[in-house]
């Protein structure tokens, strides 16, 4: 395990210096994590493209990685930023719609339960309002603290907490309907 970490560190350094073969090894070591994050935050249809965006950005920014945190942590935060930027650049039309008509949407779009918990979990997750989903994913799935989420999303820690409680409540409501 330690040898693998050292080798990955070497690959990061080589990639920072322009070695694309080393960067491909870095990609292979981290793509599952980045793709999973993108899929959960932005949906499966956008995950591939966002994952590519993340690694292109990482390639551009590798020179700024100074080893203060682990590379995985650095890359993960960069991925979150890329995904959040995408949301912002796409505008907030969907968010506004969900915020204004959330309850109506809930009533209209409640899908039939599949009986498969993982699928129903993904389905429930996809139906969360974007802001609540982001906080839920960053806190409960990715392990960020509220002050870190606040910094990433440009909200207060208190707002992050209230969004989390809201998201968990909605998730439970969605999942209750599965049986």
């Amino acid at each position: 395990m330690e040898n693998a970490k050292v080798a990955q560190g070497d690959d990061v350094a080589l990639a920072a210096a322009g070695d694309t073969a080393a960067f491909e090894r870095v990609y292979r070591a981290h793509v599952a994590r980045v793709h999973g994050l993108a899929r959960r935050m932005a949906g499966p249809e956008a995950a591939d493209e966002l994952t590519q965006d993340v690694f292109v950005r990482a390639w551009q920014k590798l020179g700024t990685f100074r080893g203060d945190a682990s590379f995985a942590t650095w890359l993960h935060r960069l991925a979150v930023n890329v995904i959040i930027e995408r949301f912002r650049s796409l505008g907030t039309q969907r968010d506004r719609f969900l915020a204004d008509g959330e309850e109506m949407l809930e009533r209209m779009s409640s899908p039939r339960p599949s009986g498969d918990f993982r699928m129903d979990f993904d389905s429930a997750l996809a139906r969360l309002p974007q802001a609540a989903r982001n906080v839920f994913l960053l806190h409960d799935v990715e392990g960020y603290k509220h002050h870190e989420i606040g910094s990433l999303l440009g909200i207060s820690a208190g707002t992050s907490k209230s969004q989390l409680h809201r998201a968990r409540g909605l998730m439970r409501t969605h999942l209750e309907r599965r049986v």
Partner: protein, 232 residues
């Protein structure tokens, strides 16, 4: 607290309630089966979420070709951040050395210490060599291109450094030369072993990395030795 406490359960799990509210929730949970079940469900939900990332799998299609094409494009390359670094030692001005230097990671400061005439027992504690001259980072970066540690450019850089060091051999302390040569032999042996093993197993990632690392060490040792011999 006789009302259901559903709205407090998320904060309760996170231990984010004030003491009085928490005590009230706990009293209620002791007598309300529905809320106790809700709490269990909430905990299962949070536990499931916490395990998701560990189960991530790679995407169904390989995304690397698309990434490789994009990072090779001039638009991406133009906006690539260069590694943050202090002004580098360029103690002799062959282009290969500049090209090699940009790739070097300070693997160990031991050789520099040896060359200063100190007998190192703890190589990791050795200081970095003194910076002798500066080149403007952007200009240097523009003048060089990445080095593949297996290509002729690397060999040329090593040959130049060895030649320069040989020319200054008589200026160095004999004990220093002895230690330097011993270290170079060790590195050369490691390189030879890695090459031999790679002939039988060319795709072995570990061996490839080992070879790259050994060659980096050699280049670093030579570069530092040369820089210090010029400074003396």
């Amino acid at each position: 607290m006789n009302e259901h406490v559903t709205d407090h359960l998320s904060a309760y799990i996170d231990d984010d309630l004030d003491a009085a509210t928490r005590a009230g929730v706990e009293r209620h949970l002791r007598t309300c089966q529905d809320c106790a079940e809700d709490l269990d469900e909430m905990r299962r939900l949070v536990a499931h979420a916490g395990g998701l990332a560990a189960r991530d799998v790679p995407p169904s299609r390989d995304l690397w070709p698309g990434i490789a094409a994009r990072i090779a494009s001039p638009n991406v390359a133009e906006f690539r951040a260069r590694p943050e670094r202090r002004a580098r030692v360029i103690s002799f001005s062959v282009m290969q050395l500049a090209a090699a230097a940009v790739l070097l990671i300070p693997v160990s400061g031991a050789p520099a210490w040896f060359l200063r005439g100190s007998i190192a027992t703890t190589p990791a504690a050795a200081p970095a060599p003194t910076i002798q001259a500066e080149i403007e980072p952007r200009a240097a970066a523009d003048a060089i291109r990445p080095v593949n540690f297996a290509d002729a450019q690397y060999d040329a850089a090593v040959a130049d450094l060895e030649r320069a060091l040989e020319e200054r051999r008589n200026d160095l302390n004999p004990r220093t030369v002895e230690i330097l040569e011993r270290n170079l032999k060790l590195i050369d042996a490691a390189i030879a072993q890695a090459r031999q093993a790679l002939e039988e197993d060319p795709g072995n990632a570990y061996l490839n990395r080992h070879l790259v690392e050994s060659r980096k060490r050699k280049l670093d040792l030579l570069r530092r030795a040369t820089a210090i011999s010029e400074a003396d």
